[in-house]
């Protein structure tokens, strides 16, 4: 039921997004070609700017679209101004700074970003030559919890969608308070609407406070929630979410009504991705208590249920979620120990199991073409209640085209009732001899197939075809992978021996440092790097001094664990090149040796013979030791352990790479897909037995937000039931496979 709250406002924002999109892709002025490869031709003062565009395929995730549009007016190049390359670059820098500021809020773990400035539509032959200026932004943040779970935090979708929707809401979204109206319809609840307000509380124990209230002629629902999340790090608690929530509802269940007031304190945690497959385990518990009233007291009493009672309960739940390239799977189990009020007597035990999968097969297309991904979604859910005393009616299972979740979470959903799209919410058990008071056992299975027929890619075709841009993204991916590989170098045990062999070097550096410290005066920073007018002795001495300090710092005991990733720069670099000194590409040790070789002859005439002798001695010693150290390093470089570090780094990269690949190869700004659905559900007790739902509809996908509307027929229609029911769903495609 909880998921119905923001449905319509999401739908509306999606619709607005589509409208904005359609506007954005409306045919522009006839494109003209910039014929000159030498872009300085366009910077000769003759060309004026026709228009400025900022393109970003990912602004929906970061709520930056409106921000980027605001930036446009601050860029140095504006329509009708004279184009210069320098001003174009200045604009790029302004955009980068704006992205930096936005990123501070996101606190990303790692990300790659490419910002490309360029020109197109050059009207070179007009009396007043003109051109268009564009900036293309590609950036991606990464969060390992969100990238491995079956569900994705809906809030991530709501915020940017809202900001993209209307400028009036924009200021609220970007501030601490967000207010959103919502409207929805289903046959059970009728047309209902309301408002939710969310207050961000950065720095507090809870990150946000949210209050929502909605109602219709059929029922009403209100909720107040304090929620927070933390990412403590690795191990068994990679991600932690917690919330305290009060909910009151008064909703129909066919001829019955269920009124509830419930307060919940809940937490759950998720592990880091485990194993090569990145299996993520989740677990948690919640404590809840409240009261409930229903209209069917007699019926309830006939099945050991309480029509009006208090309620208390402890829920525990665990699950696993896994993603492969094409399939996401989530399996969850929930156990609820409940009482009929403030008592320690156990009145019922509820079990719920829920398995869902989402398979997605991409049909390859041309670069820049709309991406066609056939999706098949399935869900199998079952549950049973063992009644030991009496069972509050509100805790029984209710089925239909809307079901309650076992826990309150945006990132973990466990269905707690039979889902069947051909019957309205809470009306599956109309055949129960007891009346519509739900059941004590159920199962349901659901399949949804969608085949996209039409759409527009997220990464604009001109961007996808821009080889320079795509190369830059690929280059950044490789840089990120290398960084991850080098982290794993620090775990290679074979380096311990090599680091031990560096002990004499550390001793010699200490001796050299002490000797250099006897020289009078301090090293002064040159006022300008280009105009270093210090004497040769001064320059060399200061360079050597810095090098000694850096090397000694690296070789400190407390830094040794991180030394392997620095050893290439310290020992090897490009020493094999005869021009490495001139190119400034030598290793730190070699640069030190060369520095000492230069320094000693400069020190002697100045009267610092003892320091010069030390410099000579250390230089000779380092020259003797370095080849052995490099040989040992090369052995490790060629070892299976290094290969393992490569493998681990590549594996780590698999967590980041799918984000990038999804943007480029999978996501559409929007897509339209026909949908086929099939459901089967059974609730006990219910004399109508197994029920079916068969139907079809259409899915409109805006980036990864899917709005599915359709009709499911009820082939085994019973007395008092309709031919079927409309179904409407909003869900999120997992981007980060």
């Amino acid at each position: 039921m909880r998921q119905t709250k923001p449905r319509l406002n999401r739908f509306l924002t999606s619709a607005v997004s589509v409208s904005v999109l359609l506007f954005a892709i409306a045919p522009a002025a006839a494109a003209q070609v910039c014929t000159r490869k030498d872009v300085s031709f366009y910077s000769n003062g003759n060309f004026r700017v026709r228009r400025v565009r900022i393109e970003s395929p990912i602004d929906f995730m970061h709520a930056i679209s409106s921000h980027l549009n605001t930036l446009k007016s601050k860029l140095p190049l504006q329509p009708s101004t004279v184009f210069t390359l320098e001003k174009s670059s200045e604009g790029r820098v302004i955009i980068e700074k704006a992205l930096d500021e936005l990123e501070e809020e996101d606190d990303p773990r790692s990300r790659v970003r490419v910002v490309l400035a360029g020109i197109d539509n050059c009207d070179e032959n007009a009396a007043q030559p003109q051109l268009d200026v564009y900036y293309r932004v590609f950036t991606s943040n990464y969060n390992s919890y969100l990238s491995h779970t079956f569900e994705i935090k809906t809030d991530e979708l709501q915020r940017p969608a809202t900001s993209a929707a209307t400028t009036t809401v924009e200021t609220q979204t970007r501030g601490f308070l967000r207010v959103q109206p919502f409207v929805n319809y289903n046959r059970t609840r009728q047309l209902f609407g309301g408002t939710s307000a969310r207050l961000r509380m950065p720095g507090a124990i809870f990150d946000a406070a949210e209050v929502s209230a909605g109602g219709s002629s059929a029922g009403n629902e209100q909720a107040l929630e304090l929620s927070g999340s933390r990412s403590p790090g690795s191990g068994p608690i990679k991600q932690l979410e917690y919330r305290v929530r009060y909910r009151h509802s008064d909703l129909p269940t066919g001829g019955n009504r269920v009124r509830e007031g419930l307060i919940q304190a809940q937490f759950f945690a998720a592990t880091s991705p485990l194993g090569p497959a990145g299996l993520l385990l989740r677990y948690g518990a919640s404590l809840e208590g409240g009261n409930q009233q229903t209209d069917l007291a007699t019926a309830a009493g006939g099945d050991s249920s309480q029509a009006d009672s208090g309620y208390g309960g402890l829920k525990t739940y665990l699950g696993a979620t896994l993603r492969t390239k094409s399939v996401s799977i989530a399996a969850s189990y929930g156990l609820q120990l409940g009482t009929r009020g403030a008592t320690t007597d156990l009145d019922f035990v509820k079990h719920v199991a829920d398995v869902g999968f989402n398979a997605r097969w991409l049909v390859k297309g041309k670069p820049g073409a709309f991406h066609k991904a056939v999706t098949l979604e399935g869900q199998l859910t079952g549950g049973a209640i063992k009644t030991l005393g009496t069972l509050p009616v509100s805790q029984r299972f209710f089925g239909g085209n809307g079901v309650r979740d076992f826990i309150e979470s945006d990132t973990w959903r466990i269905r707690s009732g039979p889902y069947i799209r051909s019957l309205p919410e809470n009306s599956l058990n109309s055949g129960s001899a007891l009346g519509e008071i739900g059941g004590t056992g159920f199962y349901s299975a659901n399949l949804t197939l969608a085949v996209p027929l039409w759409g527009y890619p997220l990464v604009p075709p001109e961007m996808a075809k821009d080889q320079k841009f795509m190369d830059a993204v690929e280059g950044q991916k490789e840089s990120a992978r290398k960084q991850l590989v080098f982290r794993h170098l620090n775990e290679i045990q074979a380096f311990r021996g090599l680091i031990a062999d560096l002990k004499p070097v550390a001793d010699e550096l200490r001796e050299l440092d002490n000797s250099l410290a006897t020289l009078p005066g301090e090293c002064a920073e040159p006022p300008d790097e280009e105009e270093d007018n210090r004497s040769e002795l001064e320059k060399t001495r200061c360079t050597v001094k810095d090098l000694v300090f850096i090397l000694r710092d690296q070789l400190k005991d407390e830094n040794k664990e991180d030394l392997p990733s620095r050893l290439d720069a310290t020992l090897k670099a490009r020493d094999d090149s005869p021009t490495c000194i001139d190119d400034d590409t030598c290793s730190a040790l070699k640069r030190l040796r060369v520095g000492l070789e230069t320094l000693a002859p400069l020190l002697r005439p100045a009267g610092f013979t003892q320091v010069a002798d030390t410099a000579d001695r250390v230089k000779t010693s380092l020259a003797a030791r370095q080849p052995t150290l490099v040989a040992a390093y090369n052995v490790i470089e060629a070892s299976p352990e290094k290969q393992e570090a490569e493998r681990l780094g590549t594996q780590d990269m698999k967590q980041l790479e799918p984000v990038l690949n999804s943007f480029i190869n999978e996501l559409n700004w929007f897509a339209v897909s026909p949908v086929a659905v099939f459901d089967v559900a059974r609730l006990w007790p219910d004399k109508n037995g197994t029920r079916f739902g068969v139907g079809g509809g259409v899915r409109i996908s805006v980036v990864n937000l899917n709005v599915t509307i359709g009709y499911a027929f009820n082939p085994s229609r019973k007395m008092g039931e309709g031919r079927g029911a409309m179904f409407f769903s909003l869900d999120v495609t997992d981007l980060f496979r």
Binding site: R113, D471, S479, R481, Q483, E525
Partner: protein, 120 residues
Amino acid sequence: MPGTSFSVDLLVVTPNQLRKINFKLSKDSKTDGSEEWTLEFGLNERKKTTDQFADVVKLTVKIKPAHNDKAESTAKKGLDDAQTSAAIAAGDSAKLFSEGKISKTTAQADARRVIAVRGS
């Protein structure tokens, strides 16, 4: 669709979540027909994972024109092994510079070396 300038920017947070390294390479075309490559090296730190990152140092160095090809290759193909190690070492130098232990000249030279050490 000629490109006039671009930047590639890599941000990595260390496994202990306490250090954030930012490596940015940008290319600008000039009106006189020349090209300029710039490397920016940023370091942020925090004491606890729940704290906000604080700026430690940001170094900006111009790449020597002789190394423009290497900068182009780096932007296109990413860092190679030698460059990755040099980048990590440059991060150390940036930190030492921020603490006043070594000179800015040395820290900048170490940052510049990230591009220069590229193999091909």
